[in-house]
């Protein structure tokens, strides 16, 4: 009879231990939300270019030749600065990354790109954040993986790290290319 509460406590403790360990290993984020866009195409939009680059519309990412990333960022966002190193490396490896500058100022955006490099093949500006709301973006940076059929397969909220790239992005690229 006393074994039952004991077993429950041990089971609960073990559950918490696994949870905390996975949080520490950054394979589990309790604040991350599943995106309703997964398995669907992004909603209709048409954004102008930013920093002298070409913008894009939903039709431009409807059938990319290779899987690609759409990266939402802003010059005022601190983790975006940290993430730029990773994005440069991924772009250098031949991955197509299209950027959307979220509620950004043109001058600050230019400075940000000059300081941190520009990994983007195309760069659009979502000045009022309406397209971000339609995508379900709830912060920057956010990265969407789009396959060759133009379907969103993965959304990552936060700066892409080595762990995330190794554990999720690389397998996705292998699966969908």
């Amino acid at each position: 009879m006393f074994g039952v509460p004991l077993a429950l406590a041990v089971g609960g403790g073990e559950g918490f231990y696994i949870l905390l360990r996975r949080m520490q290993a950054q394979t589990y984020d309790p604040h991350a939300l599943p995106s309703p866009l997964i398995g669907k195409r992004p909603p209709a939009f048409n954004l102008p270019g930013a920093a002298g680059m070409q913008g894009f519309a939903n039709t431009d990412i409807a059938a990319p030749p290779k899987p690609m990333l759409v990266n939402w960022f802003a010059s005022w966002c601190v983790p975006c600065t940290q993430e730029s190193v990773m994005l440069d490396r991924l772009a250098g490896g031949g991955l197509a990354i299209w950027g959307v500058a979220y509620e950004d100022d043109a001058q600050n955006l230019q400075k940000f790109l000059a300081a941190n490099g520009n990994p983007y093949q195309r760069l659009a500006a979502d000045v009022d954040g309406t397209t971000a709301i339609n995508w379900g973006v709830y912060g920057v940076p956010e990265t969407y993986f789009i396959d060759k059929a133009g379907i969103v397969r993965w959304r990552y909220a936060g700066a892409l790290t080595d762990d995330v790239v190794a554990s999720t992005l690389t397998p996705l690229l292998e699966k969908y290319s």
């Binding site: 009879m1 309703p36 954040g129 709301i133 379900g136």
Partner: protein, 148 residues
Amino acid sequence: MRRLLLLLALLPTLAFAQDMVTRDGVTMTPAQETRAEAIGDQLRCLVCQNESIEDSNAKLAAQLRGIIRTQVVKGVPDKNIMDYMVQRYGIFVLLKPPVSPLTWLLYAMPVLALLCGLAAFWFGRRKSGAPAPLDDAEAARLEVLLRE
């Protein structure tokens, strides 16, 4: 005289104009604002996840409050406004999760807990029934103890 009459005729519209409220860039009647607040209270702010959109100071929450108010003024039903949010952010945006296969366990929890409690109570009682009758040696010892 005509001017005075015109002014008098305009008085009700003045009162009406004073009654209007403006929040998050949308001007509406107090009743519409109350309706918008009731909707916003049921929605989670995605940035500070334990606050409702109404309570949050986050910029995204202010934008979503503006969207809710614009739609309320247009006369969009509550359900459609909720669907608009769920379509973009998933059911996590609802502070009260809907009953669905994903939340069955959550809603069944009070009943399950009650059943577990009843089961524990029943098992506990069954064991502590009347004690087994004393054998001869025990009866003799009891006799000795009682006499002392």
